[in-house]
């Protein structure tokens, strides 16, 4: 490895926390366990790295080690745990050499075998990573194809312990292949670095086997090293380990037989016990200690992480380049001159960036943004980066530092000295372009996605453990689907209701084991978009493997791991609304025919338009980013946002966190003036003033902790981390919150205030928003609302063109557009493109022409071919002519006919289908070749015979089937007479407060648009119905849901009896009885319904 250029060592951030290391007791007998399989050898090891390391320390081992099979995935966790316990750690892995039978080209030969290897320094660690990356890159995801030759090629500096295998017929004997393996390993490892692993595991032939190994050692001149083949930290984990093996093997414990270990001896043992087991070979223990201590000389925090730095042009320092780009950007952002406040901020940020050497990182991010812009891909930074004025000037984020107070320290802080985390949203349809740009620019060796550890959750735990215990599939299903019984305190009773006896021993075991397995990793997946980019080869820093997705490579470490090692990551995320906004802007500009310079763009949208806020206050927000959900819509009339910051609050407040922390109602009362705004102290007023005394943002919780509870900023940041990682590390948050309460009370705040704050911070555990993040989102809320208000046609078309995204299906988007006076025209081959387009025939208001993308099953290629032919040859009058000119396949034409898209040819759906049915694809040749068409009209198509009449209702249903919507009518309208007899009210009538006051009985019916059961709503089930007059929102209480489950859960249309609940302008129907309308609707579908 070339001499590493001097660079900054990023110290381990978690180190700073525990300043007082525990005094570690070391056992009298020297021993260190080398063969340690943790839960990161998926479904094999039954203890976490943390448990293993802590136990090794407790037992007084000289060092801890981790050696997962072909993986370093758990090593960072072990490293952090070892630092906390104050025990040295040997970094290594277990190489399972078992090249697959069908050897991919380039995989060298070499017999099977198992070798433990440990790094002794940075260089050998790099080689180990490179070795694993090589093996993983040539195998499918999750596998590793390594041969002995690969190991020998990377052997320098590594310590190896060859693990013997037995022959199946006589386990006492050593496999002949083992001696060969040892001999071959001697080629790469000198006697000093190679040992023979021996273990005494209470098998039938331990003594004989140990003697044979010793003899082999004498023959080859290699010492024995004692190991205990550890798979769990304490013997009590045996049951869990057995279950994991069964999950892996897909069998039950009763069937597993010899796949399970015969006893529980594979746990970490006390050194004295190991000495007793190895009484015959006492030197083997000393050898293990020697290996572990040599390996522990390498510490994981020696890894130097250098940002990729080819982003600055030659002759300029990165800082100069960054400054130049920033000031140039600032000039563009503020054409009227950069405000002094912003200048000050930028200079402040420059100082910190330079000091912490983060320039290349900012430049990297800028480069991504520049690339995206050059391709016309919209992007916008979110999260903490929005706190940076530099990021704003670089065009990474869009929150104007002049308008919002920023807290740069939340993003980059000297004291925390942790790499900043920049998340950038790109258009969801084009994110892959950016990802491939990164791979292409930095290469697979230097850039990869971070991993995401998929762990067992309650449902998967019950499912897998239940299966392994041999419960019937039916029973496992029932348990897994009705998980609310778990942790709810009334387990036993609920279980009995499900017909399961909780006292039954297997059930007890199931609950116990399922509890234990939760949080254990199951496999590695890829992070949504977190990229690690390095200057030095990344594959020498961490093993890289293939992802399940074609063209992606992933490192073995997750977000927490790279955080712990201080590595930089850029989150390349996808956001549907950006796609929609770009498309809407393009449509607006196209219709307006504006020249490039004056075209409407994201940053030229006029701010603070009161018409937009009027619309938002009226909850007229179908399709608007973030505030289109039912919960948001019911909040809008109460919150009545009038300015940008209100939108920031709106985005942040209707989240599970603030709802559970009980922040919503106090805020609303204070805003409407029903409750006085008071602050327990002046410091608190400064922090909470802008949110009327209610902490809504993470930053506020941090600041409160500092000013009111006497936390240091470092500790406050720890609090923030704990909030974010609450799910995984609940106890850390608990501990900090206790400290916080104690601090508050000590500083003279009332216990009541402390308790409330505590509850609110706990609420943040569930997706609390940082302010900067909410501000970034609020910007998109404003932009999309502005587009909807001023260009409803373009907005609706763009929404449909960006599907799937958001809350609403095309049918609701179209309906909403029509309610706003937009003329929506049906799909037609002579007028539609693949996407929805705007049509402007002299009117001031453009109409939406639905695109062929709405036609189910129609590919973009065929749609484009049709559109191109129409563009080139003018409108067609026969289907056959269209087929010949466009070369579209008959299958595609048939789908278009089903969608009733030939109306401009004078053909209704039936007639078009009649015609299309007679067409055949031409044999592959030159489609659309004019040949016999030259100069001649298309051959006459025979007239369509008189086809049977089809009712309007039928035609509407066919529309729904072919395009998921109908412009002709709403299906519920056809059963209206029947519904009226049942006393059903049209949805729109509910708005009339005099006819339907609070508490009045009412019945509504319609198609089910949305079903929701938020975790925050105490089991309430929400439904939104649509009929021909509008939508109605239902609330279904759990007991009603249980009673009418079939209709509530499965029906596509329902009839509801209940009563009206009014809160201001918000109207709900509280359901008392639900029934499915599906059969009533289906019954009308066929004239021949008396048959069958």
């Amino acid at each position: 490895m070339p001499e590493a250029p001097p660079s900054k060592i990023v110290p381990h951030p978690w180190q700073a926390r525990g300043s007082a290391r525990p005094v570690r007791r070391v056992a009298d007998v020297a021993y260190a366990e080398l063969a340690v399989t943790s839960s990161f050898t998926f479904l094999s090891g039954a203890s976490s790295p943390e448990e293993l390391v802590a136990t090794a320390a407790r037992l007084g081992h000289r060092a801890a080690a981790l050696s997962d099979a072909n993986s370093l995935a758990g090593i960072v966790r072990a490293h952090v745990a070892a630092d906390e316990a104050g025990i040295p750690l040997a970094v290594g892995c277990r190489l399972v050499l078992d090249a697959p039978p069908e050897r991919p080209p380039g995989v060298p030969r070499g017999g099977p075998g198992t070798v433990l290897v440990y790094a002794t320094d940075r260089a050998s660690y790099g080689r180990l990573c490179r070795l694993l990356s090589t093996g993983k890159r040539r195998a499918p995801k999750g596998e590793c194809a390594l041969g002995l030759d690969d190991v020998l090629a990377h052997a320098e500096g590594l310590l190896a312990v060859a693990l013997p295998t037995g022959t199946p017929r006589d386990p006492a004997a050593l496999d002949a292949g083992f001696e060969e393996l040892v001999t071959r390993l001697r080629e790469g490892f000198d006697g000093d670095r190679l040992s023979i692993g021996a273990s005494v595991l209470f098998g039938p032939h331990d003594r004989a086997r140990l003697a044979r190994l010793a003899a082999l050692g004498r023959r080859t001149g290699l010492p024995l090293a004692a190991t205990n083949d550890v798979h769990y930290h304490v013997r009590e984990r045996r049951a869990l380990q057995d279950v994991m093996v069964c999950i892996r093997e897909g069998c039950t414990v009763a069937e597993a037989g010899f796949r399970l270990f015969p006893n529980a001896e594979r746990h970490l043992k006390a050194p004295a016990e190991m000495a007793r087991l190895f009484a015959a070979e006492p030197r083997a223990l000393a050898r293990s200690v020697a290996i572990a201590e040599r390996a522990a000389a390498f510490r994981l925090d020696e890894l130097r992480f250098r940002y990729a730095d080819e982003v600055s042009p030659a002759g300029k320092t990165p800082m100069q380049h960054l400054a130049e780009l920033t000031w140039r950007g600032a000039a563009e952002r503020y054409p009227g001159g950069v405000p002094e406040k912003v200048r000050r901020l930028i200079r402040h940020e420059f100082r910190l960036i330079e000091e912490l050497e983060y320039e290349p990182y900012f430049l990297t991010v800028h480069d991504l943004v520049r690339f995206a812009r050059s391709r016309g891909i919209l992007c916008q930074g979110r999260g903490a980066a929005a706190n940076s004025a530099v990021c704003y000037c670089l065009g990474v984020t869009a929150v104007d530092p002049d308008r919002i107070d920023l807290l740069f320290e939340r993003f980059v802080s000297k004291e925390r000295d942790e790499p900043p985390d920049i998340d950038i949203d790109f258009e969801h349809e084009r994110r892959e372009e950016v990802i491939q740009y990164i791979y292409a620019k930095y290469g697979r060796e230097r850039a990869a996605l971070t991993a995401e550890v998929i762990t067992y959750r309650a449902r998967s735990a019950i499912r897998d453990v239940g299966k392994a215990l041999g419960l019937s599939l039916d029973c496992v299903d029932r348990l897994a689907k009705n998980l609310d019984w778990w942790h709810s305190g009334v387990e036993a009773e609920r279980l009995r209701e499900l017909g399961i006896d909780p006292e039954e021993p297997t059930m007890k075991k199931l609950l116990e084991l399922a509890n234990e397995i939760q949080g254990f990793p199951r496999h590695l997946s890829q992070h949504v978009g977190g990229f690690v980019i390095t200057q030095d080869p990344l594959c020498e820093l961490v093993p890289i493997e293939n992802a399940a997705m074609e063209g992606r490579t992933v490192i073995e470490w997750d977000k927490d791991d790279i955080d712990a090692l201080g590595m930089l990551k850029v989150d390349v995320l996808g956001l549907g609304m950006l796609t929609c906004i770009r498309k809407a802007l393009a449509l607006v500009n196209e219709v307006a025919g504006l020249p490039r310079g004056q075209a409407l763009a994201l940053h030229t949208i006029p701010p603070e338009d009161s018409a937009v806020y009027d619309m938002v206050c009226a909850a007229d927000t179908v399709g608007v980013f973030q505030i289109e959900s039912r919960a948001q819509m019911s909040m809008l009339p109460r919150l009545r946002p009038r300015e940008f910051y209100d939108l920031v609050i709106e985005v942040a407040i209707v989240r599970p966190g603030p709802i559970q922390g009980d922040m919503v109602h106090p805020y609303l009362r204070r805003r409407s003036g029903e409750e006085p705004v008071s602050y327990p102290s002046e410091e608190v007023r400064r922090v909470l003033g802008k949110t009327l005394g209610v902490p809504l943002f993470q930053e506020q919780a941090m600041a409160l902790a500092v000013v009111a509870a006497g936390f240091t900023p470092g500790k406050a940041d720890e609090l923030r981390r704990a909030m974010a990682a609450w799910r995984r590390k609940g106890d850390a948050l608990e501990r900090l919150c206790q400290e916080l309460m104690a601090g508050l009370v000590a500083n003279g705040y009332s216990a009541d205030f402390a308790r409330r704050l505590y509850a609110q911070i706990q609420g943040f555990g569930e997706y609390g928003f940082p302010e900067s993040h909410a501000a970034s989102f609020a910007l998109l809320v404003y932009v999309s609302a502005w587009l909807k208000r001023h260009h409803p046609a373009a907005f609706a078309a763009a929404l449909i063109n960006s599907q799937p995204m958001g809350f609403y299906a095309p049918a609701q988007i179209v309906r909403d557009a029509r309610e706003h006076g937009v003329d929506v025209r049906p799909v037609d081959v002579n007028h539609s493109s693949f996407d929805c387009t705007l049509e402007l025939d002299g009117d001031a208001v453009p109409a939406v022409r639905l695109g062929m993308r709405l036609v189910k099953g129609l590919g973009a290629a065929d749609a484009d071919a049709v559109a191109a032919a129409v563009a080139a040859w003018g409108p067609f009058t026969t289907i056959e002519a269209l087929r010949r000119r466009s070369g579209a396949r008959v299958r595609a034409l048939r789908r278009l006919a089903r969608a009733d898209a030939f109306a401009s040819m004078g053909l209704d759906r039936q007639a078009a289908l009649w015609q299309v049915r007679a067409l055949r694809d031409e044999p592959p040749g030159a489609p659309g070749e004019p040949g016999d068409l030259w100069g001649r009209a298309a051959p006459d198509e025979p007239a369509v015979p008189r086809l049977p009449e089809v009712s309007l209702f039928q035609r509407v249903l066919h529309d729904y089937r072919a395009t998921t919507l109908s412009l002709k009518a709403h299906p519920v309208a056809f059963v209206r007479a029947h519904l009226e007899r049942l006393g059903v009210t049209p949805a729109a009538a509910l708005a009339d407060a005099r006819a339907f006051p609070h508490g009045r009985r009412a019945s509504v019916a319609g198609l089910v648009l949305v079903r929701q059961r938020p975790g925050t709503a105490k089991g309430l089930f929400f439904m939104t119905l649509e009929d021909e007059t509008g939508v109605a929102n239902l609330i279904v209480h759990p007991h009603v849901f249980e009673r009418c489950k079939a209709a509530a859960r499965h029906a596509t249309s329902v009839l509801v009896h209940g009563h009206v609940e009014r809160a201001g302008e918000v109207v709900h129907v509280i359901a008392r009885e639900l029934e499915s309308l599906d059969r009533a609707l289906a019954g009308m579908q066929s004239r021949s319904r008396d048959f069958r």
Binding site: P171, A254, P948, A1046
Partner: protein, 507 residues
Amino acid sequence: MRRFLALSFPAFAVDRFRRRSPGAPPLVLLFTVERGSRWIAALSPEARRLGIARGMSLAQGRAIAGERDLAIEPHDPEADRRSLAELGAFATRFSPAVAVEGDAGLVLDVSGSERLFGGEERLVHLVVEAFARKGFGARGAVAGTLGCAFAVACFAPRAQRRVALRVPPGGEAAALDPLPVAALRIGTDALQALCEVGVETVGELRALPRGALPARFGGELLSRLDQALGTAFEPFVPLRPKRVPRRARAFEVPVELDVVRHAARELLVELTTELRERCEGACRLALDLECAEAPPVREELVLSRPSRDLAHLASLLEPRLERAPLGFGVLRIVLAAPETAPTPERQTGWHEPAGQAEVAEVAKIDRPLGELFDSLVGRLGRAGVLALVPVETHVPERAFEERPLASVETLRARAAITGLARPSRLFAPPAAIEVDAGPAGAPMRLVRNGGARRVLRCFGPERIEPPWWDAPTEGSRDYFCIEDDGGRWLWVFRDPQARWFVHGEWT
């Protein structure tokens, strides 16, 4: 003039299920597994009335049924087909020519035979009732074409179902016109295409220009239509029941055992010859003897593998004959092979390709083994022949199971070879002994049956932990193999309470 009686069984699969499980609740769902989830393939009318439908997911069906009692079972179309063929055989009592139509229909050619039953209407009633007694709900109709009869049987409007359906000769078109096009037995593609252009009934279809149809809806449509109308020929392929190989001899006077034995031998020769011609072997043999002044004798042989080996079959049959109570002699002897299976003749040459050598080897062992097995079963009865089957488990006393030897295949099933040191004899249960253990826990001296023995050599411990999932009270055992001064090798263990047991011995 031909007349056809068509029968449709609208809930065939469910009726069949009901017959198998008479106590089942009225709600029945039969499901298939597709794309990883379970879908309803057939259901009882009671379930349909609740709003459950074919093609729903099983979960949805369950949700609709709610708390009501449900019978849920996998759908087995193969068994349905077999069962339908059996019903066809049953229907031959009404007409010699019976054909299976589709998945749940039968067609009887009743040309002329209706007179035996008092007219067509009455015949329909009789047939439907006969099937109802067997537990199958059927709808029937008679018409001049197979297609028309079937269409009317399946699709007659609900109002007409109570009356027996009879389409008068020449009335096919009128009967078909109001029926849905699905009644024409056409593929789903054509059905969907017709539905799309709005054509729902046969009448609407007939109103369309004939010439335009094949290009749009496939050639099958017209031919099906014409077959139903009687303007095109439709083949009628009656079921032919499979013949059981069977040979009989009658004697004019009662004969003695010697003659019977000789006759049986001759019958066996004829039977095996027939089996060879059919390339089959017998799975069962049935021998019926009609005796003078004694009840008839029936001897049944069940064979471990299909066989037509004369010597083997004879060796099984003869002991049975000798033991049979023949009274004053035998009047008639019948030998049949009620169950047969194909056994292709395999040519064995001097050269066997490498891969097949092993197969041949197995076959070489299998045959004598199978014959031995048949003879043992013949003499000792099925329950009298057991096999020791190795079981994959670490617990020594469970490592083998005695199982009734159902077939030779069980013998070949072997668990993985363990390679563990296990004694040749296990004591059940292990016997308690007293042991003086050394400092490391290894036994030094043991007292067994009152006699004290010194331990000369000792290996171990091997620690075996009981399966935690079904023996929660037992603790782990530490096993030692020891040689005592009497020269015996014993397998002893210590339990967690430090009690000692001897579990086995190498003899």
